[in-house]
Subunit: 144 residues, 2 copies
């Protein structure tokens, strides 16, 4: 990932126009944990080209593959984050995301564990598993 691709440059309405969906739908995906937009101090959301690509993938999953939002959430919650960021055994003990699989790791509070200083939007676990086939492909790299 280059900084350029993840440069937050589209307002929510511009992004929605690019994607041909409504602003409300964009916010719904965020509320459901599928995307993490950049936020200015005022709270205004901004989206990068990489965010756009991620949402294109979400739309593909819903429209073509017929997944629902809970299904996408569940799939994201199965990402083996502990192996991606190489948690220690001790890190795992204090991590809800390790022991549960009801929502993506970035939706859990993580002020008490290894992720406490990480901005999830810029975390490999989030951005490397955003596109359609990336989860299985990433597993191929992680597994023997």
């Amino acid at each position: 990932m280059t900084k350029d691709l993840n440069n937050p440059k589209y307002t929510i309405s511009n992004a929605a126009k690019l994607l041909d969906i409504s602003v409300h739908t964009m916010r719904m995906y965020e509320r459901e944990g599928l995307i993490i937009p950049f936020k200015k101090e005022s709270g205004q959301r901004l989206y990068s080209d990489q965010d756009i690509e991620r949402i294109v993938c979400i739309r593909h999953s819903i429209k073509d593959e017929k997944l629902n939002i809970q299904g996408i959430r569940k799939i994201l919650s199965l990402i083996p984050c502990w192996a991606v960021i190489k948690c220690s055994d001790n890190d795992r003990i204090n991590c809800e995301a390790y022991s549960s699989s009801s929502k993506p790791c970035w939706m859990y509070n993580h002020k008490n564990n290894i992720c406490k200083d990480i901005n999830c939007r810029e975390c490999e676990v989030y951005y490397n598993f955003g596109t359609c086939e990336s989860i299985k492909n990433k597993l191929k790299n992680l597994l023997p």
Copy 2:
């Protein structure tokens, strides 16, 4: 897994009664690749206690977790079967399930690869990933 738990002993109507669903729903789950019942030569389906448990899990995913059938299918299609049964590089080349992720591996034709003589119903990839939290837990065993 013991042979006992997987002993096919319930007819479809008895299984449906146990699960409080319709016979048609049972067959739908099969058509969608979520379950592989035992089949007699006549074609009649029989279900084991393990099959019942698997369907309980499917019901839980649909009713409580709000997944849809395509979502469950997609999750099953992400199981890293190649790592479970320890495919060689060459095995992987001839395997649709390795390169695709649109349906569970047991739904692909596999007469040309390592799985050609395997009864999927009795394959670890199928029966070890049947219950609700088993996928993430199995990943914990497979990954460093």
